[in-house]
């Protein structure tokens, strides 16, 4: 039996759920947001904007398939550009969800209950966006299936030594597990949605998705077990996926890629950016749907702390890169580092240190952590910073490597950006569609957070 957070809660600590709530009000509030409340203007507008960005993606991708990756800015020394930057960035963002739902669950960090559903959805959609780029950036995307081992008439296997093949497995596994985790978690709530919805078609839709959940003790028992198992399954993924992604670089011989620090430093960075994105989305959504009762400032405070911690790890990573560049004694490494800081792309490095290194230090102050506006801005800054980090790693390492004769610059074209903007659109659009039709906060898990007095003894809800 894990320690009981309810016992330790003194009055000086803000509760994880605003007072005056009981089971009924929680369900009313969250399910009602979907079923009864008409779409808030903010949501509608966001949906419109993001959907037009989705159209941008469609055009960008079509022209890409028609002409080839040459429409991007990539060139001979810089073979990978924004496409790979985005891939790494999106995957990274995904990590927060998995960490929140899996690891925090196993660690009985119950405050997660208010945000895990939301974060999982975010993970799912982020990974979807990420998954597009490995296909887009291929010279011959229609042959992407050659990266998968399947019985073929060439009697050829993919090259299992290549990190890109590892990626295929890592990312697809990640997508699958994230989806199952998210969906299984939804089932009980889908059931209550089914029961609360009044229109026939709503009942049917939720009914199908609820897969006949009746909340019997047996159901709950099975459910808890499955959920735990999935959590166990997802936990290693938090570490493995981004480690594998980091191998794409670490396995290369390029100065600036070939570094042993990459896996841990990538994972930390991933969680860092992931939490930043959760906050970026949560703060406005909380406002739009008046969820301050459930996603309290204390939640934000927790997340800010996680960001601070992972941010420090990332900062350590930068320091180590810097140190090894000169400690290694390799002229190529040393030049790479100097070029990174003072070369033509130096400004990106400076910005990166600013965004990921310095500004997050503000989070040491509780005032900042509890100031929604400040937190919102910082989280956006961190998102930018993490994108820049990937840009620095991919581009500045490539554009000046070993032979000065082949050095060149990389300038993204409108088509590079269109794809990026497009995936942002996809992400936000999916996110808001989800918010509109699904309970964005896990109703039944939230009920765990009710203080004693509001609670009716409910074994099924407290099985573990």
């Amino acid at each position: 039996m894990a320690y009981d957070y309810r016992a330790t809660e003194g009055d000086n600590v803000a509760p994880l759920i605003a007072p005056g709530h009981d089971y009924a009000t929680i369900t009313d509030k969250i399910a009602g947001n979907v079923l009864d409340r008409k779409t808030p203007k903010g949501v509608a507008i966001t949906l419109a904007i993001s959907f037009s960005l989705v159209m941008v993606l469609v055009v960008g991708a079509s022209y890409l398939f028609y002409k080839g990756v040459g429409i991007w800015g990539i060139n001979n020394p810089v073979g990978w550009g924004i496409a790979i930057v985005n891939l790494v960035w999106w995957i990274g963002i995904g990590h927060a969800g998995t960490l929140i739902s899996a690891i925090l669950l196993l660690l009985h960090q119950h405050w997660r209950n208010a945000i895990n559903r939301f974060a999982e959805a975010m993970t799912l959609f982020a990974v979807c966006c990420a998954g597009l780029f490995p296909i887009f950036h291929l010279g011959r995307p229609w042959l992407a299936f050659w990266l998968a081992p399947y019985p073929n008439t060439m009697s050829m296997w993919p090259n299992f030594r290549s990190p890109l093949v590892w990626d295929v497995f890592a990312i697809s596994t990640y997508l699958l597990v994230s989806f199952m985790f998210w969906f299984v978690g939804l089932i009980p709530d889908l059931a209550s949605m089914r029961d609360r919805s009044k229109k026939r078609w709503q009942k049917v839709c939720y009914g199908i998705l609820a897969m006949g959940w009746r909340g019997s003790a047996r159901h709950w028992h099975r459910y808890e077990m499955a959920y735990l198992l999935l959590a166990g399954l997802a936990t290693p993924l938090v570490v493995s996926v981004h480690s594998v992604v980091s191998f794409d670089f670490a396995v290369g011989i390029l100065p600036g890629w070939h570094a042993t620090i990459f896996p841990p430093y990538f994972v930390a960075g991933a969680v860092f950016s992931g939490f930043a994105m959760v906050i970026t989305l949560m703060i406005p959504v909380r406002k739009l749907y008046h969820l301050e009762d459930f996603v309290t400032d204390r939640h934000l405070d927790f997340m800010a702390k996680v960001m601070l911690a992972t941010g420090l790890i990332v900062l350590y990573g930068y320091a180590m890169e810097l140190f090894f560049a000169f400690y290694s004694g390799s002229e190529y490494e040393a030049y790479m580092m100097m070029n990174r800081m003072t070369g033509p792309y130096g400004w990106t490095y400076v910005l990166l240190i600013l965004c990921n290194g310095l500004i997050p230090q503000l989070l040491w102050s509780k005032k900042v952590r509890l100031n929604t506006i400040a937190l919102f801005i910082i989280s956006i800054v961190i998102n930018v910073g993490m994108w820049l980090e990937r840009f620095v790693i991919v581009v500045t390492s490539l554009h000046r490597d070993f032979l000065p004769s082949s050095w060149d610059m990389y300038t993204p074209t409108i088509w590079d950006w269109s794809i990026y903007a497009g995936t942002l659109g996809v992400f936000v659009w999916l996110m808001f569609v989800f918010i509109r039709v699904m309970p964005m906060i896990s109703i039944f898990e939230l009920k765990h957070l009710l203080p004693w007095k509001g609670r009716i003894i409910d074994t099924s809800a407290d099985a573990n």
């Binding site: 079509s62 022209y63 398939f65 028609y66 002409k67 080839g68 990756v69 040459g70 429409i71 800015g73 990539i74 060139n75 001979n76 020394p77 073979g79 990978w80 950036h137 291929l138 010279g139 011959r140 995307p141 229609w142 042959l143 992407a144 299936f145 050659w146 990266l147 050829m156 296997w157 993919p158 090259n159 030594r161 290549s162 990190p163 890109l164 093949v165 295929v168 794409d248 396995v251 290369g252 011989i253 390029l254 002229e331 190529y332 030049y335 490539l398 000046r400 490597d401 070993f402 032979l403 000065p404 004769s405 082949s406 050095w407 060149d408 610059m409």
Partner: protein
């Protein structure tokens, strides 16, 4: 081409119709859609080939298709393919096996022997002919790229009258009419304009034409030829002579602005001999020494041991001082600065120390006076007879004075010219500016242009007749030393064209005699005996000449040229001879007044190669510029007038102006600007049109080599596509070089410049090579950076042309590139060239990272690239430390022009977009050799496999072969102490290794403290 009409089809449709009926039906035809599309196809508007701007509708229309395709194309059924066997198969031809024929390529008149490979009747590759004195087995960029013109879709394909399509018959009728008129006048109104003519047959035809029309005149014009050299010999000896230098015997060479390694009719021979004297085996280095005073950083200058940038007009002073110091009596006096004086004295001492074993050579752009004086200097040095010899000139050149372009224009102005036949050449574009050739032509009754392109001249002339490419027509030509070759065609004319021989036959005999008969007749009746063949056996003589590519016994006889003394030269120098020299200008510096130097472009020549995509995209030696010419200025001049790279400057010469982007070039003389001719063509074709700036309007006959000019900054900028943006080695051991003394004290200096780890330090187990073990060695001491290997590779391996916009974004496709680095003084740096292609690493970083094993190692150590397996992740390229991999970012290879596809080498896959490619060590040649060997149950002999780059290299700097054979040339080369692997410290263990460069500086010029590089 389904649905589309070719000109041939149209002609077919119209066959048999004449006069009225003909034109009516042509009109009817002209209404049809397909005709218009055909016209579009045959005479396209100026739009570069690779650029296909996608119209919105087409894009949307294709959008869906492409998406569908993305999914399907991997599993569609192969469409049915047809096989068309011969009706009657030629005996000598085995289907699927290439044949090789000897022929000759002519550049400004002079021949270079070539061997042309033909696949099933299609010429596909041009290489050097070892038996030819001007080739010795090597080939230059022009000869190899000339095959592109044969298949160029922009080639002129129809006779035109004032731009309207008409027929050959109509032209011939008109011509014979005009000739009848001339007959009466004794040809007083007949003028013929050609380039330099060395062809015995053509000379004979022209002679007989001039006999028939005694009052007719024949004019010659070459925008950048050897006129100065010839004039110089006339000054020096009283008669024209061709000097032939023997660099193999020369210990000390002094070049006065002569780029003898890369320019001139004998440059391949000179390059071969020179690099022979730079070849070092073992730990002792007995190499020659090259001094170079030059007005522009050239290939020759880049390999010089002592290079001095001097503006063109001051070379004269150096020649004079040298003559004086060497005691050539009566040498004109000149002033040099103290530094220069010391330099020239050191050179003179060195030359004196090597009497009879030295060469002084003057450049083509130097006035005759300099050439003449140089002849005197060589004589004074006792070089004549040892390193310098003289033969009668190969060109047919009666009455050189009266044949000038100026004379022609004067006659036209006088209204004396009724019939002007311009056979080859493009005077409207490249004639001296003040002659206003285009206007002059309009005063001519009937003007005819025979040219393979419908160029500026063709458009100005009343008549344009498409000329046959030299691979389509019979002919002959002489090399610099007089050796004649039969120009043998490999394919019937692709279009209804005629050769210059056939045109002259029409004019003399009024009969459609075919080139074959004409050339045979000449050799049979006129020249066979002189060529030292006995009577009767003409056929054997003829076949032998065709087979060898040289006509036996046709080399010009040696002549005893005696130097007449300096008086004439002094006279000539005081009053500079008309258009050939140019007035030496004294300039107040720093100021806006500078000297501009006019030179033929290193890659597209005087403009005749402007529509050649290979040459346009070929990075020019030293400058690494493609697709453009520029105003080259020295860093110091740039500072003083405050001009930046790519900033457009306004240059004015005698009131003529041009706007051209400037480019700062280290090692350029501080007080002059160099402009390259050949660009800014308006009717070159889709490739050449609009590329660069036309310089000819600034070039007047009196100032053909250089002129005084004013330069003004505009503050506007224009992008220049250079393949190398970074010019320093950053202190990395890339090109490793040392002086001879340093080398002899420490022969292994190159290897000591980096720590190379052992194989054992690799993570993956090594490979076994029990069969062959292919490897390459490149001798940086011989390599001159002349670019021959680049074009050879492009031609052999179907390498596409990407276009300027792509080169600007670093997407050029060359499999082998020539890296150029500077070191030392910015105003006169040491220039290092290094050919870099795939190194075929034994621990190749590209191999483990490819997710689909599209690039992998084979049992002979080749790092093979399987295009059809490649999905285009570009990971291999990212991980390649040499960045030698090339990616098809877009559809670069031309798949829409059928003629271009005829040119492709069928043994090499034509890569489409989205695929990575790179040097394969010419695996197709290895396979061919292996299969032949296996069929004979033997192993491949050393020298059986010659890579394209190796075969072209005039300096023989590239050696390829089996490393498992200790006796192979490549094994020997790699056993040299100078052998080192580029970036070998990364444990890639490259199969291509380099032999470090050596310099042989003169201690008297402080060569001693010239430290090792890299």
């Amino acid at each position: 081409m389904s649905g589309k009409l070719s000109i041939e089809d149209i002609r077919e449709k119209l066959a048999g119709r004449t006069g009225e009926q003909y034109w009516r039906s042509l009109d009817e035809l002209a209404d049809t859609e397909e005709f218009r599309s055909a016209m579009q196809n045959e005479f396209p508007t100026d739009a570069p080939v690779w650029e296909d701007p996608v119209s919105r509708r087409r894009f949307l229309h294709l959008m869906g298709a492409s998406i569908a395709l993305a999914g399907l194309s991997s599993c569609v059924k192969q469409p049915d393919e047809k096989i068309l066997p011969y009706v009657k198969q030629p005996e000598y031809l085995i289907p699927g096996k290439p044949l090789t024929f000897a022929s000759a390529f002519t550049m400004s008149g002079f021949a270079t022997g070539v061997l042309v490979t033909s696949h099933m009747g299609r010429p596909t590759k041009i290489q050097g002919n070892p038996d030819h004195p001007a080739s010795l087995g090597a080939a230059d960029t022009f000869s190899m790229a000339s095959i592109l013109h044969l298949y160029d879709p922009d080639r002129s394909q129809v006779v035109r009258r004032n731009g309207e399509i008409t027929t050959l018959d109509k032209f011939l009728a008109q011509l014979s009419g005009a000739l009848d008129a001339q007959k009466a006048l004794g040809g007083s109104g007949l003028r013929i304009l050609t380039g330099t003519v060395t062809s015995p047959t053509l000379a004979w035809q022209i002679e007989s034409l001039l006999k028939e029309y005694p009052k007719a005149k024949w004019h010659r014009y070459e925008p950048a030829g050897i006129a100065n050299e010839r004039e110089g010999s006339r000054l020096a000896f009283g008669e024209a002579a061709q000097a032939i230098y023997n660099f193999e015997k020369a210990d000390v060479v002094f070049s006065l602005d002569a780029d003898f390694i890369a320019e001139g009719p004998a440059h391949l021979k000179y390059a071969r001999e020179f690099s022979e004297r730079r070849r070092v085996r073992g730990a002792k280095a007995n190499i020659n020494r090259l001094y170079c005073a030059e007005s522009f950083p050239t290939v020759t200058g880049s390999v010089a041991d002592h290079r001095l940038p001097v503006r063109a007009s001051r070379i004269t002073d150096f020649a004079n001082r040298l003559a004086a110091v060497l005691g050539v009596d009566g040498a004109p006096s000149s002033q040099l600065s103290d530094g220069e004086e010391a330099w020239i004295t050191a050179v003179a001492d060195d030359l004196k120390a090597h009497r009879g074993a030295s060469v002084v050579i003057a450049g083509a752009y130097q006035p005759p006076s300099v050439h003449a004086l140089v002849h005197g200097i060589n004589e004074a040095l006792g070089n004549v007879g040892t390193t310098v010899s003289f033969v009668r000139p190969a060109e047919f050149d009666p009455d050189p004075a009266g044949s000038s372009m100026t004379a022609l224009i004067e006659d036209i102005a006088k209204g004396q010219v009724d019939l002007l036949v311009i056979a080859g050449g493009n005077p409207v574009y490249d004639a001296p500016a003040e002659l206003q050739f285009a206007d002059a032509i309009e005063k001519v009754g009937m003007s005819v242009s025979l040219n393979i392109y419908n160029d500026e001249t063709a458009n100005a002339c009343g008549w344009h007749v498409p000329e046959s490419h030299y691979l389509e027509a019979w002919g002959d030509a002489r090399a610099f030393d007089g050796t004649a070759s039969i120009v043998q065609p490999l394919i019937a004319p692709l279009y209804n064209t005629m050769s210059v021989y056939e045109l002259l036959a029409e004019m003399t005999l009024r009969s459609g005699k075919k080139g074959y008969e004409i050339v045979r007749e000449y050799w049979k009746d006129h020249s066979m005996k002189s060529a030292g063949a006995a009577d009767g056996d003409f056929e054997s003589f003829w076949n032998r000449s065709l087979n060898d590519g040289v006509v036996p016994g046709t080399a010009s006889p040696a002549m005893a040229a005696r130097f007449r003394g300096t008086e004439v030269i002094v006279a000539a120098w005081k009053a500079p001879d008309a258009w050939k020299s140019g007035s030496p200008v004294r300039i107040s510096f720093p100021g806006s007044e500078v000297e501009v130097m006019f030179r033929a472009d290193p890659t597209i020549g005087d403009g005749r190669f402007a529509n050649n995509g290979w040459l346009q995209e070929l990075p020019k030696p030293i400058t690494k510029l493609t697709w453009d010419n520029a105003a080259f200025v020295s860093p110091s001049l740039a500072d003083s007038i405050g001009v930046h790279d790519e900033e457009i400057v306004l240059i004015e010469v005698n009131g003529a102006r041009c706007l051209i982007p400037a480019l700062i070039l280290p090692g350029h003389p501080p007080d002059s600007i160099t402009l390259h001719l050949g660009y800014g063509r308006s009717h070159a074709g889709r490739v050449g049109n609009g590329a660069g700036v036309n310089i000819y309007p600034l070039r007047f006959s009196t100032t053909a080599s250089w002129a005084t000019a004013s330069i003004v900054r505009t503050g506007q900028y224009s992008k220049l596509a250079r393949t190398q943006d970074h010019h320093s080695m950053e202190g990395r051991p890339i090109v490793r070089s040392a002086t001879v003394t340093e080398f002899e004290t420490d022969p292994k200096f190159a290897r000591e410049m980096s720590h190379v780890p052992t194989k054992a330090e690799s993570l993956y187990p090594g490979h076994e090579y029990d069969g062959y073990k292919w490897g390459m060695s490149i001798d940086l001491n011989s390599c001159t950076g002349c670019n021959a290997c680049v074009i050879a590779c492009q031609s052999e391996n179907n390498i596409p042309v990407a276009g300027k916009d792509q080169v600007l974004n670093g997407r050029e496709m060359h499999w082998i590139r020539i890296d150029r680095y500077y070191s030392g003084d910015l105003d006169n740096p040491d220039i290092h060239s290094q050919p870099v292609a795939c190194m075929h690493c034994e621990n190749a970083p590209c191999e483990p990272v490819c997710p689909v094993s599209a690039t992998s190692h084979d049992s002979e150590g080749l790092n093979v690239m399987v295009y059809n397996r490649c999905v285009g992740t570009r990971y291999c390229s990212n991980n390649c430390p040499y960045k030698v991999r090339r990616f098809n970012f877009l559809q670069y290879s031309d798949v829409e022009h059928p003629t271009v596809q005829m040119m492709q080498n069928p043994d090499v896959t034509v890569r489409n977009r989205g695929v990575m490619e790179k040097c394969t060590y010419c695996v197709q040649r290895i396979s061919a050799a292996r299969i032949d060997a296996k069929k004979e149950d033997r192993s491949i002999r050393d020298g059986d496999v010659v890579t394209a780059c190796q075969s072209a290299c005039p300096a023989q700097a590239i050696v390829f072969g089996d490393l498992n054979d200790p006796l192979s040339e490549v094994s020997k080369a790699k056993s040299q102490p100078r052998d080192y692997g580029l970036l070998a410290e990364l444990n890639t263990s490259p199969r291509t290794s380099y032999l470090a460069r050596l310099t042989n500086p003169n201690p008297a010029l402080g060569g001693a403290e010239k430290g090792r590089e890299g």
